[in-house]
Amino acid sequence: MTTWKLLASYWSFEPWMILICTVLILGYLVLDNLRISRAFLIFSTGVLLLLLSTSSPLNILGRNYLFSASMILHIILLLVIPLILLIGISPGIINKLSNFLPSLKVFNILGKPVVAWILGVGTMWIWHAPNLHNYLLRNDYLQFTQILLFITVGLIFWLPVFSPMESRRLSPLPSTLYLSSACLSCTVLGILITFANAGLYREYLNPVDTLGILNFLRNDLCITPSVDQQIGGLTMWVPGCLIYLVASMITIARWYREPEENSGYRLHDAGYRMNDTNTI
């Protein structure tokens, strides 16, 4: 048994997952009247990533053996994929979609910064409340809902910053605050998990070794429960925050690309004359 073998095996492609992904991609194509645009490519990368991440060993490991694996999966589902999808959705799509799906209007309310922030960060917190997390692990049928919920919440969370509708976006400085405050809460949760005593998540302490790889994980990779929990906490903390950081860098970059509005000055004369100096 090697790490490589571990990663190579234990892929499980759920039919319903494949179904959803195909529907998403085809739906997008239809709405975009079968144009292969750049946006479409980005969007489909997101969808593909969704399919891969949920079918990869991460999923099985996360559900049965390693808290850290499930944490990595959560970060991907909650922060990475929605971001890619959102960037991949062009305003045109939204307009078309909202024509025969008026219910989409609900996103306008959910997309309000305060709501979105509470939803996004709240999910992160509630989902990792030990008891709930343990409960979810014991109930496989919740897997589907969980993935769906993460993607939706993720989309909502990113809306105020990356909404396809420029008009609905926060201006860069507020969105930097929006993101860094989210990063802060992520950090706090990460700190709590990292420095808490091992066994915060009982299910991972001594898992049922259905695949017979526990020995390998514990002894060859030296991932003891405490190490596992630390990796989990730190994953949510450092890479999690790096995603927020990169996002706010993107917003700032976008901001600098916009042309500077010249607040009420006549541009043609640069002369220093009484009439266009504001005397205090």
Partner: protein, 550 residues
């Protein structure tokens, strides 16, 4: 966001500089320029004291097993030296310069809250005085190092009142810093003159803004820790005393959770100064304004998540160490971007080497060394050797002296004409510059080696190991040279205040708004603010044919 550059608060006339109302016009002043000047003077005094402490230490360490200073005194000296230089010299100086310049640079009359501004200053000043008062108590000054690790700073191990004075003094000045941080944020966000949009802010103001955000978010961390320490010391609480269930490591998390962002609080405004000086003396706009500004934000955010790299030897486990090592190394990237942008700004310029520029260029060189050794100690196994050794001492001095302090000197030479209306003597300035560079590198370059061969920091004496004596002697000689250079600087300031050449409004032919008014500026800063249509309003005025923004 209101753009009207009016401060509704000061309906009554502010006392102005030079008005002969005596001391009261200063003590009672809420004018940002006077407060800024008071900040600068106070920090200069603290700087001389802190420097004296350093020189005494270096003399003691000049040769092995020396008995020039008793261990009690030595421990007090390095504690006070560190605390003074960080909390009462570099930080307040940069805040002070900010207080003086921010309103001028954004074309405002004053800070948004002039009285709050005065409060910050007096809190800082008296915090420092309280700390230094401890020297005159019979128990003596604090002697637990500038980060006062518990449980050493706890009652059973420090029965004297030193640490109590330390905590209370820093609490006071810390609250002052939060206040000025808030004040700066509101000022920058609301009092910009029409046309001075966020994307046209002078980079110095950008850096002050980010620094202010760091101030208001990290100083509460240490404030909480100080309160806990005081509760432990005064009311037998159990936060940090393992003997009664407390945690010694918790204190370290709190301290460095503040302490590392603090490093960037100390160095970001310095970056700002450099980003103002280099373009002006290269006669070119800063290369990649956007990237310098954005990388500042990146540094600010990253700096919040790297503190545990000060704790690699504490035994947090390899996983934690690895993550913090990564996060710490990442900071090197935006910082490197800045350095390269400064170099690129000079490229193709027409460089004028007046003293501000000399210090700015020296800053780049010295700071690069500090940055590279910083990446080194961010690597866990290297840190397992380097930490708490003289290597770290050298590293932090290259960051804070070669970095912050060189920039501060650049700033002083650059803005002294604006503040006083007189130029500093170029000739004395050269002497000051060269002696500083030589002395600084003599003192600290060798200390990297000292650390690598195994000399721990904070020792009042050391055994006669191969070359230790020689290397320490070299370092001490350097320190003495530095001392002389500082005296020359002080002399230069005194002489130039008396009879330096009159400066005129814009001696350097610079481009930011503060140079559009008289030197020293009038009470209300501007009788008229030039129109702002780009990042360099005065350039646009001078070259209507080729404005920065078409």
């Amino acid at each position: 966001m209101s753009r009207i550059p009016l401060v509704p608060e000061n309906v009554e006339p502010l006392p102005s500089i030079g008005e002969s109302e005596g001391l009261l016009s200063w003590v009672g002043s809420i004018d940002h320029k006077q407060i800024g000047i008071m900040y600068i003077i106070a920090t200069l005094v603290y700087f001389l004291i802190g420097g004296l402490e350093a020189i005494l230490m270096r003399i003691q360490l000049a040769h092995p097993n020396s008995s020039f200073i008793s261990p009690e005194i030595f421990n007090q000296l390095f504690t006070m030296h560190g605390t003074t230089m960080i909390f009462f010299v570099v930080m307040p100086f940069l805040i002070g310069v900010g207080v003086y310049l921010v309103p001028l640079m954004i074309g405002a009359r004053d800070m948004a809250f002039p009285r709050l501004n005065a409060l910050s200053f007096w809190l800082f000043l008296f915090g420092g005085l309280l700390l230094y008062y401890s020297f005159f108590t019979q128990s003596g000054a604090p002697d637990v190092g500038w980060f006062a690790y518990a449980p050493l700073s706890e009652k059973p191990f420090s029965l004297n009142n030193g640490p109590t004075y330390w905590a209370i003094g820093l609490l006071a000045s810390g609250i002052g810093s939060i206040a000025s941080g808030l004040n700066n944020i509101v000022t920058i966000l609301t009092l910009r003159t029409p046309g001075m949009t966020m994307r046209r802010l002078p980079l110095f103001v950008w850096m002050i803004l980010v620094t202010s955000f760091l101030l208001i978010f990290v100083i509460p961390i240490i404030t909480a820790a100080f309160f806990m320490l005081l509760l432990d010391r005064l009311f037998e609480a159990n936060f940090f005393n393992p003997a009664s269930g407390g945690s010694a490591i918790l204190y370290q998390h709190f301290f460095w959770g503040f302490g590392h962002p603090e490093v960037y609080i100390l160095v970001l405004p310095a970056f700002g100064i450099i980003s103002e000086v280099i373009p002006v003396f290269s006669r070119k706009p800063i290369f990649g304004y956007e990237f310098v500004a954005a990388s500042t934000v990146a540094i600010g955010l990253l700096s919040l998540g790297v503190w545990a790299h000060h704790m690699f030897a504490v035994g947090l486990g390899n996983v934690t160490n690895a993550y913090f090592s990564l996060a710490s190394m990442l900071i090197a990237i935006p910082t490197g971007v800045k350095v390269l942008n400064w170099v690129a700004t000079m490229w193709n310029g027409k460089l004028r080497f007046y003293n501000p520029m000399l210090f700015a260029v020296a800053f780049i060189i010295e700071f690069v060394i500090g940055g590279l050794t910083g990446v080194a100690v961010a690597s866990v196994p290297i840190d397992w050797q380097a930490t708490d050794s003289y290597f770290v001492v050298a590293h932090l001095h290259y960051a804070l002296f070669g970095g912050s302090l060189f920039a501060i000197f650049a700033g002083v030479y650059y803005w002294f004409p604006k503040i006083t209306g007189r130029m500093l003597s170029e000739c004395l300035g050269r002497w000051h510059f060269w002696l500083t560079v030589i002395g600084f590198n003599f003192t600290f370059l060798i200390q990297h080696i000292l650390g690598l061969v195994g000399m721990p920091r904070r020792v009042y004496t050391y055994p006669d190991m191969p070359y230790w004596g020689t290397m320490n002697l070299i370092s001490t000689i350097g320190a003495l040279i530095l001392g002389i250079s500082v005296l020359i600087f002080v002399w230069n300031v005194i002489v130039s205040l008396r009879n330096g050449d009159p400066a005129g409004d814009n001696p350097w032919n610079a481009w930011t708004l503060e140079w559009a008014t008289t030197s020293p500026p009038p009470v209300f800063n501007f009788d008229r603010v030039p129109p702002v249509r780009g990042r360099r309003p005065l350039w646009d005025l001078a070259h209507p044919d080729m404005p920065d923004e078409k």
